[in-house]
């Protein structure tokens, strides 16, 4: 028990956030995931400055070469450096992952919180709508959208975000519903606190845990969806590139030049690993049921 200087009698408390952080730090796999993720984000941000070659820089005479000292991850059939292409592709993949998740987060949290907080008939109608949307074949709709309106990044963000918010809404609604019945929220009501204060001080801080966990787990599923669409040729469009698109190109020539498939595949899988392990670790750390032992 540490004591603050000056007021030696005050014992410092340990908040649930701090407890969760300590628990996360003990989970080495999750921590490694977090580290890898930060590394990837930094690399993606700095790509225009640190990429070893230019994005469009071709060397048709060189052609496809296996990994070497000059080209660590080899080159593709146009002699373009794979490391550079994977770095630029990662920028796109991560951007789609983060922005589409943010869209899903914004819609889902607001929708779920309103339904859960108001409750009753409003909740019934709102969640009924979510149920119905769940039953729709969204994958097909996204493909349709991309076909009809052309393959734009912006559309991709919103199309994917519009699919992924449903689960988020359900989670937040369940959380808010159970919180609303908690006695400490009732106590806040009996103090006469205004609605907004109750939401801000008592509801939001206690829903944050599951939202963080689910957000972390949504990013990989969004990235997967993007890669899936790009692989089919219905997502990101050249000259832009993403890991899904690189894998698509890699498949075409995998018999002769397997590294063109394997390296983008490793990049995608590793990122998904990092995010999933981090999400699992966060779940364990933030889950109130495991908070006590």
């Amino acid at each position: 028990m540490s004591t603050e200087a000056g007021t030696p009698s005050i014992e410092k408390g340990s908040s649930l956030w701090r407890d969760a952080w300590i628990k996360l730090c003990k989970n080495h796999v999750a921590l490694a995931g977090l580290g890898l993720l930060i590394f990837l984000c930094v690399v993606s941000l700095l790509t225009p400055w640190i990429a070893p070659y230019g994005y469009e820089q071709q060397d048709l005479l060189l052609g496809a070469t296996p990994p070497s000292m000059q080209h660590w991850l080899g080159t593709d059939v146009f002699g373009r450096d794979m490391l550079t292409r994977i770095m630029w592709g990662g920028r796109v993949s991560l951007t789609v992952g983060f922005i589409a998740t943010a869209v899903a987060l914004a819609i889902g949290v607001v929708w779920g919180a309103v339904a859960g907080y108001i409750g009753g008939r409003v909740d019934m109608v709102m969640m009924r709508l979510v149920d119905i949307l769940y039953a729709l074949p969204f994958m097909i709709f996204i493909i349709l959208l991309m076909v009809v309106f052309g393959r734009s990044m912006l559309l991709l963000f919103f199309a994917i975000g519009a699919v992924e918010w449903l689960t988020m809404a359900r989670i937040v609604r369940g959380q808010v519903m159970s919180l609303r019945k908690q006695e400490f929220v009732e106590a806040a009501h009996s103090l006469g606190l205004p609605q907004w204060t109750i939401i801000r001080r008592h509801i939001i801080p206690n829903t944050l845990g599951p939202v963080i966990v689910y957000t972390t787990l949504t990013i990989p599923s969004v990235m997967l969806l993007e890669a899936f669409l790009s692989f089919l040729g219905l997502g990101i469009q050249p000259p832009q590139s993403s890991w899904g698109l690189l894998i698509n190109y890699g498949v075409e020539t995998m018999e002769e030049y397997p590294w063109l498939l394997i390296f983008p595949g490793i990049a995608l899988s590793l990122t998904l690993f990092a995010l999933n392990f981090l999400g699992d670790g966060l779940r364990d750390a933030l889950d109130p049921r495991t908070a006590k032992d």
Partner: protein, 544 residues
């Protein structure tokens, strides 16, 4: 040699923070036809002791550190898994605390009842399902299930809590075990049902000459049924002896404290009712809920046309069994739930006609203490934040004197000032309830509703919190509505009592006169079912 003999049993738990000694060098024995009660507060190791006998503890973290346990001469602690399986449900059977969760919701009651017969072929030659069913139906009848033939095919959710516990008892007894372990079998039940289940266990034990280990936190409950009692605390057996020894010739201080903490008899402090000074007058309030859980919307009349008065300075007790609507009545008075009809006059103003914004100044004058000290505090706020919130919001304190005021509150409810920066999960249940009480009295209210404020607490803590409440009522001149299912607690604190049943008040009156001469049959039943912490009078009552 006794049927079960346990010597120097020690159970350790290997946790991240080191070894926790859950049971420390405990010895006891039980003989056929005998009842041993193991009594202790939460964390005393009473359940762990019994679970370790049947190898029901999760290992790891649990570990038998030492000791022996012999059942009819054979070793329980060092036997093969298959041998242990033969003990379980065959020689030694068990009944658990919560009948709502202890039966498999996916299987019919009958299917679960006959399982012990089907899977223990050694003792009772392999049974056909038909013969097993005959036996099960017979036993269901014996434990008091009406129409057992038909109920055999029902699912657990079609039974009430008391009925489920009867099914559990039948299931435990179906293989005619020689030892029955009951882990708080009546704690989750209403008091009248508790009396029935206790009677049933006693009667079945007599007719079968089975040995019983009865685990309980409540000395009052075991007084009537125990031959021997072992009192445990922090994994240590504090005291063992016959029921008479424990109750009348108490040796250990801890047992003494437990006995003293049991609320008994009338209120000891003076009545402070100010006659003709009515603080609250509620008339014809009804609170209905729409239940959306099923496929159809169902209306539940939780409070059905109730009128009541509360005088300044009085402590009004509100008793009733679970589902009677007593909590909803309390919340209706404070306008925490929307009421359908009726008026709630608080010091001359009808609260029901005010908007939530208009209610704010009134909220300062009335507060609530909740049941569950684990749920009633925001887990992400420190004690300081929790206590400062009402003070700042209602303008009672400002930035310059808030620290002093919060410290004053902590003194008031008996919390050390050093804990001011700590979070709720770092406190025990009793300390948390003190924080919650501090929050309720922070606004210096005139009226407080205490909704089962002590029912989640151990008996010694319960006594301390009750003392604190009485003390605060006197010091701050409070008026209180005290809601509880525990009649002894209400008797020890309330000036006047109302009995609630199915959303209505069926009887009310001054506490002692109500206890002396209850008018309604329901009240008589309720009062008659209260366990008395005195073996002699319990036994004479049972014989009557």
């Amino acid at each position: 040699m006794a049927l079960l003999e346990v010597n120097n049993l020690s159970v350790h738990f290997d946790t991240r923070d080191g070894v926790v000694v859950a049971v420390d060098d405990v010895s006891f024995s039980v003989d056929a036809g005998e009842t041993l009660a193991i009594v202790g507060e939460s964390g005393s190791g009473k359940s762990v002791t019994c679970y370790s006998l049947l190898d029901l503890l999760p290992k790891p973290p649990a570990r038998i550190h030492g000791g022996t346990a012999r059942f009819d001469g054979s070793d329980l602690l060092n036997c093969s898994a298959e041998r242990m399986r033969q003990f379980r449900g065959n020689d030694i059977a068990m009944i658990f605390q919560d009948p709502m969760t202890s039966l498999n919701p996916n299987l019919t009651v009958g299917e679960q009842l006959i399982e012990p017969l089907i899977h223990h072929p050694i003792k009772t030659k392999r049974q056909t399902r038909a013969s097993a069913k005959l036996r099960a139906v017979e036993l269901l009848g014996e434990v008091g299930i009406v129409d057992p033939e038909r109920r055999f095919a029902s699912y657990p959710h079609e039974f009430s809590g008391g009925m489920r516990q009867r099914v559990m008892i039948a299931m435990a007894l179906i293989n005619e075990p020689r030892l029955l372990i009951c882990d708080e079998p009546t704690t989750a039940l209403d008091v009248t049902i508790q009396a029935q289940i206790l009677g049933l266990i006693k009667q079945l034990q007599r007719s079968r000459d089975v040995a019983v280990i009865f685990i309980s936190h409540d000395l009052g409950v075991v007084a009537g049924i125990a031959d021997k009692i072992m009192v445990m605390c922090n994994g240590i057996a504090m005291e063992s002896g016959t029921a008479e020894d424990i109750f009348y010739r108490t040796q250990s201080d801890y047992t003494r404290r437990l006995l003293d903490a049991i609320p008994q008899g009338a209120k000891k402090t003076d009545c402070r009712i100010q006659p003709d000074a009515r603080l609250i007058q509620a008339s014809h309030i009804s609170t209905w809920f729409n239940d959306y859980s099923g496929h159809k919307v169902r209306t539940v009349k939780a409070v059905d046309d109730i009128s009541l008065d509360i005088q300044r300075g009085e402590i009004l007790g509100l008793v009733g069994e679970s589902g009677s609507g007593k909590s909803t009545l309390g919340r209706s008075l404070l306008q925490l739930v929307p009421t359908q009809t009726g008026t709630v006059n608080f010091d001359g103003t009808d609260l029901a006609s005010l908007s939530s914004r208009q209610l704010v100044p009134w909220r300062r004058r009335m507060q609530m203490i909740f049941q569950d000290p684990y749920a009633s505090l925001n887990p992400r706020m420190t004690v300081y934040q929790t206590l400062a919130e009402p003070l700042l919001f209602h303008g009672i304190a400002n930035r310059s004197n808030i620290d002093a005021q919060v410290q004053q509150l902590m003194d008031d409810v008996g919390l050390a000032r050093a804990f001011i920066r700590k979070y709720p999960h770092e406190f025990s249940g009793g300390q948390r309830q003190r924080i919650a009480i501090g929050r309720a009295i922070a606004t210096k209210p005139e009226f407080i509703i205490a909704d089962e404020p002590v029912s989640a607490l151990d008996v010694t803590i319960q006594a301390q919190i009750l003392d604190l409440i009485i003390d605060l009522v006197e010091r701050h001149n409070l008026t209180m509505l005290f809601i509880s299912h525990d009649l002894s607690v209400v008797r020890s604190i309330a000036d006047r009592v109302m009995v609630m049943y199915h959303g209505t008040i069926i009887e009310q009156g001054a506490t002692e006169s109500l206890w002396r001469a209850p008018q309604q049959d329901y009240t008589k039943n309720l009062l008659g079912a209260i366990p008395i912490a005195d073996p002699k009078s319990e036994r004479s009552r049972a014989e009557r």
